[in-house]
């Protein structure tokens, strides 16, 4: 059964259809949240679970103009933002000084480590635009940011990563 059919059934209250959607989307959503949560898997999974439960409650509000994955990512991002704000964990506008470049190990590990040093909107924007292949317009909508702000987060995040990883851009 395709996603549109599953969505129609879920909107009509079919919990099994929504369960199938959870199985389809759990991996990218948990991956996105792990990036946001700086690798804290338990926190990411808790927030992913809450995001899916919220999506189930609000499935009637989902409009097919955007993708279901994008809608989920938006709910998940809001959940993470709320969690971080409650604990005052994420500086949102502080351009913290970056320490020196990371030592080379495994490229993916390097990237994950470097990502943890970026600000939340930079991590989120880069993950959405590159790893999850959203357009910048879609990413701006998910993060509820003006397009120009998203673009500057992407550019700043890339620049910081370039310094951290000493990559060729």
């Amino acid at each position: 059964m395709n996603e549109a059919a599953l969505l129609a059934l879920a909107a009509a209250g079919d919990s099994a259809a929504f369960g199938a959607l959870v199985r389809l989307h759990q991996s990218p959503l948990r991956g996105f949240l792990r990036r946001l949560a700086r690798g804290d898997h338990a926190l990411a999974d808790d927030l992913a679970q809450e995001a899916f439960l919220e999506a189930w409650r609000k499935i009637g509000q989902f409009r097919a103009e955007g993708t279901f994955a994008g809608w989920l990512a938006r709910i998940a991002y809001r959940r993470y933002l709320m969690w971080a704000r409650q604990r005052k964990l994420e500086p949102l506008d502080d351009d913290a000084a970056l320490p020196g470049a990371l030592p080379a190990a495994d490229l993916r590990l390097d990237l994950e480590k470097a990502m943890t040093r970026l600000l939340l909107p930079e991590r989120a924007a880069l993950t959405l635009c590159y790893a999850l292949e959203y357009t910048q317009e879609e990413a701006a909508e998910i993060l509820e940011l003006p397009l120009g702000t998203l673009k500057s987060h992407v550019a700043r995040g890339r620049e910081k990563l370039r310094k951290l990883l000493e990559c060729e851009s």
Partner: protein
């Protein structure tokens, strides 16, 4: 660093796939619990609303007009004659052979 990878290519690497390992099942269990608690909440809210309505609405004042109508009808000879005619017609229809 020994290698200088292309940053865009590095960023575009897909996120590592995450095995389900019971995650979806746990979500479905919580969905069912959430639905059940909503159903209970709706029932409790309904009962509360009814109880409040019963407390606030003057039931005696609402039923008083109907009582008055019933008494007036019972005291009206036209109504009594009409009822008697209906009863007699009904009895005659049952007693008379087809």
């Amino acid at each position: 660093m020994t290698t200088k990878p292309d940053l865009d290519a590095l960023l575009a690497m897909p996120l590592a796939p995450i095995a389900d390992e019971g995650f979806s099942g746990a979500v479905e269990v919580k969905m069912a619990a959430q639905d059940q608690s909503f159903a209970w909440f709706e029932l409790a809210a309904g009962v509360m609303v009814l109880a409040l309505v019963a407390l606030v609405v003057p039931v005696a004042r609402l039923t008083a007009p109907f009582e008055a109508i019933a008494i007036n009808l019972a005291l009206s000879w036209q109504f009594v004659v009409a009822c008697a005619a209906i009863a007699l017609t009904h009895a005659a229809l049952r007693l008379l052979p087809d």
